[in-house]
């Protein structure tokens, strides 16, 4: 769902705190009551609607114009920490000045988690550019076609941006893509490296192929905290493959098992053993 900027930037709490300042100076008591009702998501009657659209909304729009706010698209407001919204909008407005006429989006844990490491900003461009970090702000440049990816669909579910878009919600995720995700994830864990990015991609893809649901960034964040053992990851893959692909496609796993058995003769690697065991279980269950 898309919200217009005004309903996003003003909260009930803000209205209650500023009521004395606003009443009589900018809004009448009646207008403030109607605004309050609107923010509480209560239905307005015909008279109230007229007041709202004719008097209240134009005043709000004029007030916000002082803050140089325009075209702000907030999605997944219900997942966000209220005071982060205003902060994110301010950051977005600053970034907009530096990257003029670019499509910019803020997403990630800054919007929904009390503790966060970075403020992730995504700028969509025609040509690739070097990412940069300034303090806590991490600017990632993505090619415009990234907007059609499952990653974007997940990212944008809880986001603040300066543009409107239609999310793609159907994706064809090939078996080999899921296996690549899984194998890299297991490899990173065994190498004792940071595997959060691999885990995110893996959970996003496995959930989609098994249930058709695109997890948003907050859901992924919560799930990533729970899934931390190789066996849990392998079992997640097994379930996803059984639910997501038919027996014929899963038969391709036999080829990988044969390849990895051969490789095991040269490399006594624990990752290969894990892949083989997992794929064998899938084939057994799919039979």
């Amino acid at each position: 769902m898309y919200y217009h900027k005004m309903e996003n930037l003003i909260t009930l709490d803000m209205l209650n705190k500023a009521r004395n300042e606003l009443e009589g100076r900018i809004f009448t008591r009646l207008q403030l009551n109607i605004l309050k009702k609107r923010l509480q998501k209560k239905e307005l009657n015909t008279n109230e609607k007229t007041y709202y659209y004719k008097y209240i909304k134009p005043k709000l729009k004029a007030m916000l114009s002082f803050l140089n706010i325009d075209e702000i698209n907030i999605k997944g407001k219900e997942y966000m920490i209220e005071d982060r919204i205003t902060k994110a909008v301010n950051i977005l407005n600053k970034i907009k000045k530096k990257h003029k006429n670019k499509r910019i989006m803020i997403s990630g844990s800054f919007l929904f988690n009390k503790n966060y490491n970075d403020i992730d900003i995504f700028i969509f461009t025609k040509y690739d550019k070097e990412d940069y970090t300034k303090g806590k702000i991490h600017v990632n440049f993505l090619l415009e076609n990234a907007i059609d990816s499952i990653f974007f669909s997940s990212l944008s579910e809880v986001s603040i941006s300066n543009f409107y878009y239609t999310n793609k919600n159907e994706f064809d995720i090939g078996l080999s893509n899921v296996l690549q995700n899984y194998e890299l994830l297991i490899n990173s864990i065994l190498n004792r490296e940071n595997y959060q990015k691999e885990l995110r991609d893996f959970l996003l893809n496995t959930e989609y192929i098994s249930t058709g649901v695109i997890l948003n960034t907050k859901q992924l964040y919560a799930l990533r905290k729970k899934i931390n053992r190789i066996k849990m990851i392998s079992n997640t893959l097994i379930n996803a493959l059984i639910l997501g692909y038919n027996k014929n496609r899963l038969n391709n796993l036999k080829r990988y098992i044969a390849d990895y058995r051969k490789l095991l003769k040269q490399y006594k690697s624990s990752n290969l053993n894990e892949y083989i065991q997992t794929y064998e279980k899938v084939i057994k269950l799919a039979a």
């Binding site: 490296e193 490789l263 990752n271």
Partner: protein, 104 residues
């Protein structure tokens, strides 16, 4: 250590290897301990001590991957029963493009 010296050492270990990505610049930006770690890792790849991954695009291609800090990544590719091919070192963004290209 400078990248020229590193290239020579790595060529001695792996013979006719190509260097790709922004290898020189990224190698010079590694800490001395990470530079040593990279060379030791290359030796371990040769000695079959590192976990291989197989390309999903080319069955005869295997790779070894390693992360350095939050940004730098390396990929060493090899023909299954043949030679080492390329040592790629670059920032994580370009690593991801390369991994997709190679089918890892």
């Amino acid at each position: 250590m400078q990248h020229e010296e590193a290239r020579e050492i790595i060529k001695e270990i792996l013979n006719d290897i190509k260097f790709e990505g922004h290898f020189d610049k990224c190698f010079d930006n590694l800490k001395e301990s990470q530079q040593k770690e990279l060379i030791k890792w290359v030796e371990e790849c040769k000695d079959h001590k590192i976990n291989p991954i197989q390309s999903k695009k080319e069955r005869n291609l295997i790779g070894f991957v390693k992360k350095f800090g939050s940004n730098l990544r390396t990929i060493l590719t090899k023909e299954k029963d043949g030679y080492f091919l390329v040592l790629f070192l670059d920032k994580h963004k370009y690593y991801e493009f390369e991994m997709l290209k190679l089918g890892f």
